[in-house]
Symmetry: C2
Subunit: 305 residues, 2 copies
């Protein structure tokens, strides 16, 4: 399998945009037509509706964007049936040519970390084989090593939490240690791993999660982490705008993908789209919101080359 | 449902020991008799063997110890079938009267964190309803709030990573910020949450993971965190001994549970037990190793009262 960052670069170039569509199914927000006949839904029925909904989103965005990011938590909430639905949509998205970044924020040590990596990146067993996985750094350098080794062996990628988009991200990440905030220490370690594993495009298979809600830090981290691809959450519903994420990109328009979950998948309920499309045409609303985000980003970031 | 820390205190008192048995099934280390006829095993077959093995461990330890800790990663490695096996053994352990601490090290923000909490602590849907869940702190205070709220509503508990047992735990956790290491900042926040949620026993529903491999810090954290129950990994295979964990306990012999995974569940392969029991009598080896650990701890910690 080709190097993850090279596959990601190629996908961004092919689509001409760096939009990452987050697949965060929430029962209460699903378009009404999908819920017909499911008023009192058990987990198996809910999981089937989640799969149907996500497949419907994938059908719309597969020709528009390079990648999708399923959020594991919403599937785990439905128990084993939810996890089977997650496996289904990961496979479906990859079959449709999308890169899949599994948002699981997993982390552990030694052989336990290896087991997580095998579950979400490896190809041997029948798990949720994705192109990349988000991981948490608190457990330290030796907790990341097994993930990196597995990713190397199967052409996978990682995105390590560095500076998250939530207000509370500051609690620990902004504590100043030896003259610089914790997130810069994590950033330095991630950049080292990225440099050690860089592909033809100049980026490593280890990337970083850096929130759109901290544009100044985003720009500063871009400078500090020249080998690290960024996954940028916080666009849209969390308040980040196209101008806020511009600093995440290099001069080729590469080096970052910008996630939008609710703003795209539940676009039918947004004021901008509800009147024109409504719940009945929710897939058209997904398409319109995706196109609008592509347009907004293209106007704000360097041309992709 | 009664307060988690009170249930944990009662269970430790009833059993007269603070041993936590880690359920970390690893295919290569399973006792040979369990593998008969499973030479070329797919994930469904492996998951069934994992469930059989863990049920066998539970049958032995249910009358001896207060709690078990299934490690999610090893079940996730087997995909949806593994997650179904995990649900099975969580339920089985609770039916046998054991408290179940799910080791998933989950974390996320907002409604995503709520979904994780519902999956592993909540009672509404059919997930892996456990008595407690391990969580990671990197995402900050607002990422912990949804877990605390769910735990409060259902009598559940949390163990937040503070000072982990692995050598690489030092990478970020020991960075000094404002005159004290990062793990002390996390510890202070966890203690605040524990104090806010304390039960009749004096401990809160929010606990901390503090490794046996750093005995000095363990003792110091016990002083800094009087309301916080400790989950202590690193005993046995990782090098921690009974004397190393003594500082984790209060004068009543409460306030900590000490985990041992491989040293108990794979005791049949340890030099101390292999000759007497071997793979054929692996459950007797589990019993002997559990009894030996109970004895070693009782000799090192304050009498439980």
């Amino acid at each position: 399998m080709e190097h993850f960052a090279d596959r990601l670069s190629a996908a961004v170039r092919r689509c001409g945009n760096p939009v990452l569509v987050g697949l965060d199914p929430r029962w209460e927000q699903l378009p009404a037509p999908l819920l017909r006949g499911h008023d009192v839904a058990g987990t198996t029925e809910r999981a089937a509706v989640y799969a149907e909904f996500c497949r419907g989103v994938i059908d719309v965005v597969a020709s528009l964007v390079p990648a999708v990011k399923p959020q594991a938590a919403f599937f785990e909430e439905l128990g084993p049936a939810g996890m089977a639905a997650l496996a289904d949509i990961v496979q479906y998205a990859r079959q449709r040519g999308l890169l899949v970044i599994l948002d699981g924020k997993r982390n552990d040590i030694g052989s336990t970390a290896t087991a997580y990596a095998a579950a979400y990146l490896g190809n041997e067993l029948q798990g949720w084989q994705s192109d990349a996985l988000t991981v948490s750094p608190y457990l330290g350098d030796d907790s990341l090593t097994p993930f990196v080794e597995t990713a190397q062996s199967c052409g996978g990628g990682l995105f390590v939490l560095v500076k998250t988009s939530n207000p509370g991200g500051r609690t620990f990440q902004d504590l100043v240690c030896d003259g610089r905030p914790l997130y810069e220490h994590v950033a330095a370690h991630v950049e080292k791993l990225a440099k050690q594993t860089s592909g033809a495009c100049g980026y490593g298979l280890v990337g970083a999660v850096v929130g759109a809600t901290y544009p100044q830090q985003l720009e500063q981290l871009r400078t500090l982490m020249p080998s690290t691809w960024f996954l940028v959450p916080g666009y849209g519903a969390q308040g980040g705008a196209a101008a806020d994420v511009a600093g995440a990109f290099d001069s080729r328009g590469l080096g970052a993908i910008v996630n939008n979950s609710r703003g795209i998948i539940f676009a039918h309920a947004r004021p901008e789209y509800s009147q024109q499309f409504g719940a009945a045409r929710w897939q058209d609303a997904v398409a319109a919101a995706t196109q609008d985000m592509i347009g907004a980003l293209k106007a704000a970031i360097p041309a992709i080359s």
